[in-house]
Amino acid sequence: MNITDRSIERTVSVLLLWGVILSGTITLLGGAIFLAHHWREPVSYQQFHSQPRIDRIIPEIFSGALHLRGRSVIQFGLLLLIATPVARVAWSLVGFALERDRKFVIITTIVLLVLLYSLISGALTN
């Protein structure tokens, strides 16, 4: 198979499209659950209160989403959305490796490492 930049980009685009559809559908579902329970309640976001652990610690978001808790399902969809650019960079790395373009393998690895570093340090914050 002849690997070109265009064919890599086409695959990346299909990957992103499905990532976006999946995360959007999940957030929509979470939003519907949330609205069904809370649509009558007043909103007040003038004062900042950090989200409770269940809405900001990744393993707790997962378990809340499994129980179909509206807010957790929304956060789970958002986590998938945050993962889409990472998947895009990771897939480009595979593509450049298949193209045997050593310079771009190095460049893309740097970008991916910085990205993973922030994601992991974010996940470790409590």
């Binding site: 930049d5 265009r6 980009e9 990346v12 685009s13 992103l16 499209l17 990532g19 976006v20 959007g24 957030t27 929509l28 979470g30 939003g31 949330f34 609205l35 809370h38 649509w39 009558r40 309640e41 007043p42 909103v43 976001y45 003038q46 004062q47 900042f48 950090s50 989200q51 809405d55 900001r56 610690i57 990744i58 509206g70 807010r71 929304i74 956060q75 969809g77 958002l78 986590l79 959305l81 945050i82 993962a83 889409t84 650019p85 895009r88 960079v89 480009s92 310079k103 771009f104 740097i110 970008v111 910085v114 990205l115 922030s118 994601l119 340090s121 974010g122 996940a123 914050t125 409590n126």
Partner: protein
Amino acid sequence: MTVAEFTPIVFGAALLAGFLGSLTGLGGGVIITPVLTLFLHVDLRYAIGASLVSVIATSSGAAAAYVREGFSNIRIGMFLEVATTLGALFGAYLGTHISTRALSIVFGVILLQAAWQTARKHREQSKPLPPDPIGEKLKLNSSYRTFAGEQHYVVHRVKTGFALMFGAGTISGLLGIGSGSLKVIAMDSAMQIPFKVSTATSNFMIGVTAAASASIYLSRGYVSPPIAMPVMLGVLSGSVAGTRYLSRLSVPLLRRVFAIVVGAIAIQMIVNGIRGAA
């Protein structure tokens, strides 16, 4: 105001943010942040969380379509992303040492001038420059589709572009705003990349940068699900619509839209600097 009123208002603002953000390569934060803070009186920290979500949604939503249209250039984006990332780290380090108020005003003025220049530029290529050997070595030159067929382009002044991207990263690390605008301006005026390719490539880059900080803000509890949900869904829909429109939009009109949005960011920054909110 109840949840049933708040959600559709935010969704509507997010639709517009996604539409303009994907067209201009600026992300959706430009519109989301002022609507949430000024109009709906939402605390700035929730707005920061929502704005990061909107940037990623614009970037990925637009990318799914842009890449297929062949506008964005992943090589240019990835190469320049190294400079932006290093700049952002440098900016975060500098942030503890200098006054962001003065910087916000100075930067706002520079941006205002750049917006004026972008709007006034008519031809795609202002000066015929020799192709940059670094650009050739890294295979940054590419082509994109137009009504008139495949349009080839050559990248110029790669070193200047790289340095400007480092500066863009530093500014965004310091002020947390304005990196998309500087990215587009650097690619358009220094590197002479076609405008549509510049905005699409900027969209790719801002998504990567925002993903890095989004997980940190999410775990700090800045991302509120009831705010983020309509933002994400609205921006995704808006950015897909914006992308559909981009291939039909004329470049001079796109430049004018870009200049107006950047001008608004610039004024916002100057005002913030004077009031001390930056």
